[in-house]
Symmetry: D2
């Protein structure tokens, strides 16, 4: 591992200790993969609901011989909070409230990859998620962890609500338009497509290979929980209320999200001007790549990049923004590491500084 | 084969003779597959540009031992027109003009699966396809072969312009709304997703398995040639000019198109009322299935069905229509057979009356 | 449907009534698909362990609007035996003993797609399957339903043990060599590869798309339960005891089995002579296709064919036989229909007389 | 990139300069991917036959913004030999002879990923490859680059013939048995399965997604060019002539090789003893992992590992060895880097020290 190589060379390196709660899900495992290569991080423990007591490398055979930790049960995490500087939580919604409170009380910082602290308004949470919000007192402190949007706040934060995968791809594509008031705020439609890993590792019929390898479907049309999350952040950026239509799809690939966004332009503008405007907005952002070519998820698979292209449909006066991310990296674990790097003052790209392995 | 079984039983059956031009492409081959099972059709010849002189079952090994015809060169078709009642043309655009004229002159009816006779306006054809329209004199006679829309005209037609795959899925989903003036005619956005067979059987890097099996992309954004075709027919149905945004995608599956259509509702209406309205519109249509559940391409793969579901996004006042077809069947060869059945007075569902083989 | 078409024409047709036990698994569903198109069969009931009381077309959406039967619970089948002429059983091993006895007692013929009546020797069953054989008294009556091997016995049989998918592909490839004593009986190695549908529709982690779409593995090495089944039938054909090595694999595709078989030749022979010998052996067999080209599962996908090619490795004195079938058709439901056709005196290819839909 | 990070910290690092010939094929590109992360390597140039003059990041979009080199034409390489310490060649067979001679003459070391220097016997090369061997004078100097077998020779070598993908997987699995004379040397059968990237990036019909995504086939049965390569090295290890049967397959996945090897044991031995023997043989080898569980290609995808499991089939007296590698990494570019590391005295695992990204 890179970490050890560097240490061997006698370079003095700051190291922080972290734990991962929910390490055996796809996002948790991706997080572990990234953190193992992080020169400034020690993984103190990994915890799992379903695999407590099991050798991690028996669950994910790629770790065989290279990673020997045994999963502790989720319930043991509270006793291990004293050992760590930061806790990553990768659990289903509703499961992060209690342990987050405990962690903060112990002075442990938290990056929550789930949805529990993303919505500012607890009523909205309860309406869309159908669960009681048991973390109200921490909502105001939680920083929405879309790195490129909230970098400075994240640095100082004790609690980062890591964005959802669809919101990450969609907001990064929308921000330059919203900031400049270039589109009608009520005209936005997001048609997003996700690989199957977004549905998680639970054993359900609908994600069996035979059920989803030769098909595409839209799902949760008009009701997907990422809708209020996107609207909340879009509204802040636009400085007016944004209500939009969001349609997610399940695509027969393992990884990747492609988000295609439609909006009515308020004034005439051409492709090139828009692209320059995007390049300016994201100038200096390593992980945002503005392309002339239309993005494809293969070019970001496994990496932390968000590729964006923007086109004007002159015939109809609409703009079409296409963005691509890896749902498990920039859409989850990669952005979580990016945020942790900010929180600890590490170089922001540490351990996520590689491009997609292709094919 | 079913055809022979029935004949053996001594039932008297009307038989028509057909030829297929472009039989070795994916659409041509699908057409051959269907016609082999048609009790009223004799396949007189199959022609191929790239495989003239070759045994068809060497190209498509599933036919081994069951189909012994050799492909004739495309150029030989004109001499064989006297042998057939109807010619199917499955060629790239620009290639159908001359042979169609010859066929019509010889009293042979034509179903063209390509684009050459779909657009009423030859200037639009030349603008979007970048080719001279050499078939102007036949444009007014050509009937747009969306079966459910133009059934009666198709019966009498000598020349049917079989619709594109995207337009088939999109128009069938839009027609009930357009007919009733339920949506703003300038608000329509079509976000459509196609399997790789839609890109054809040509050997190009971008459809190699390694290049497209783990990725999704949008392509031809704002410029796809099916746009004017959809607009033309939508405008006729709506009785006003429809300009819309159309975005196609390439999805890592072999077959299928999912079309997701957004429009602004002119008045409030709920899901159930809309669904009933769709059911009424398509009452009696065997191949249109209105579903509460969202369509998935797997349920129509290999079949001639178009599954449609319609949802209202109350929060934004939009309607979202989702439709699924098999691009090679209802989107090409199946609809061509359906049209031929009408033209010859056969039962409309003959030889296309089966559901998807799954998984 | 073809069935109704024919009836409408007033042809007099013999019709038999059947039931399907285990209709919602992949094999059961494939069987239903085939039987719906069978002109001489009425499906009286379909039964399901997990989906009793549910509309079949809600489970498999391709049937929507075309098939309206509700699954009865498996436990209700015994009361419906009086309504049928034949019962198809598609259940896990150990579940067919009791209902088979009941069916036979009622004069209902049985085709069991499971393993319970395949092994002649109940001790072998108990050793390899780890279950008590509760059907001993019916073992001697059961006919091993490899159609091409046992056609005459099947015609008269009350109880057909439909072969396993791997044994079907492997035995059809081996029979010509074994019959003629061309290979050393102790030299046989079968390296077989199956699509994921062979693992069934149960919700288990290992058949999730993300877990098996980009990987291949061997499994059950030296211990797979199809080993004694292949050995039993191979030994009968060879007229000496055959012990062989069988290695199955899971391949990232939905359907298909490719079986590659190695054996030491007893004497020199060349490719062409061997191929002719195979052609002679299977002369007149519609569903066995001897090819010069190496078989590929795509050419038999969805069809009832078994494609076979045979090659001599002169350098080592070995023969290599490659066979391809669709595991759900020739390897399960298709062969079951083929056997039923024999049992009822229907034309053998009825309802299975179509080639693979490609791609 | 890691390289720059380390340099910034002021650590003194030895750096070598390399060029890649054939950089736009799948193996060449994988090599570039790995070398970019290598702290001791500068990529001086990349050359391409088909893409000379093009920006590499236009061909492989994952490099966009991160790698700005333009491909030089292959023909320009000879003029750039003075700039480099080592040349990687990733060209079709027959293309490496001349440039290798030029490089050696200029004092540039060579790692050839192709087949031109793998066979010791030029007649065998000409027989199996159907080309004249124009590199005879360098054959004796070339070291067969199976790292674990020839580590010490590789260190000193000027010319390394990097092994083929199938031979790498097969030989690593066979060596412990052959060294100890545990199997009959004439009993070996290798049944190997490869992902589609092994077929290269050329635009040919048979590797189109639609043609190979739902199928498996054996190919080049008895005639594959990797046969003499495996036999040559196996014979050296066994110290007797080994003739074997090798059957490759094309599997619908992008990456990975699974090699399943059968051999007759000379004496009784059980699974555990054999596994221990393998563990001992490969003790200290980072990239060889002996597993109880059967290997799956997903656990090595993208990594440089070779996972091996060994099972005894007591009933037949055979041993079955299963090995898995990534064809583009351990089977090509990864092993090339491993060899380069040895040649330059770098730590052997540098830049290839990471595990598979999953899923």
């Amino acid at each position: 591992m890179i970490k050890e190589n560097i240490k061997k060379k006698g370079v003095d390196i700051k190291v922080k200790k972290v734990g991962i709660l929910g390490a055996t899900g796809y996002a948790g495992q991706q997080l572990l993969w990234l953190l193992r290569n992080h020169p400034n991080v020690e993984i103190e423990f990994i915890a799992s609901y379903s695999h407590g007591g099991q050798d991690f490398s028996r669950i994910y055979g790629n770790y065989f011989g290279e990673f020997t930790k045994v999963c502790i049960p989720n319930t043991d995490v509270k006793e291990r909070l004293g050992d760590i500087d930061l806790l990553f939580i990768a659990l289903p919604h509703g499961k992060a409230f209690e342990i987050t409170q405990m962690a903060l009380d112990r002075g442990v910082r938290v990056v929550d990859l789930g949805a529990d602290f993303r919505l500012d308004d607890s009523e909205k949470y309860e309406e869309w998620y159908g669960k009681t919000c048991d973390g109200k007192k921490n909502l105001s402190e939680a920083v929405y962890g879309l790195t490129e949007l909230n970098r400075e706040k994240i640095r100082e934060s004790r609690l980062v609500a890591n964005p959802g995968c669809y919101p990450t791809a969609s907001l990064l594509a929308l921000i330059p338009l919203l900031k400049r008031g270039l589109i009608q705020s009520n005209s936005i439609i997001i048609d997003a497509k996700s690989g199957v890993s977004g549905a998680g590792r639970g054993s359900v019929t609908q994600t069996l290979m035979c059920e989803c390898s030769e098909t595409i479907k839209a799902y949760a049309v008009t009701t997907h929980r990422h809708t209020p999350e996107i609207e909340q952040e879009a509204s802040k950026v636009a400085n007016e209320e944004v209500k939009l239509t969001f349609t997610p799809h399940l695509v027969p690939m393992n990884r990747g999200i492609l988000s295609v966004i439609y909006g009515d332009l308020k004034r005439e503008i051409d492709d090139e001007s828009l692209r320059k405007l995007y390049e300016k907005e994201y100038s200096g952002e390593k992980f945002i790549r503005i392309k002339e070519e239309l993005p494809e998820t293969r070019w970001v698979k496994g990496g932390n990049y968000c590729d964006i292209s923007v086109k004007v449909d002159k015939r109809t006066g609409r703009v079409i923004v296409v963005s691509a991310i890896d749902n498990l990296v920039k859409g989850a674990a990669g952005q979580a590491v990016q945020n942790m790097n900010l929180m600890f003052g590490f170089e922001e790209a540490t351990a996520i500084d590689f491009i997609s392995i292709f094919p």
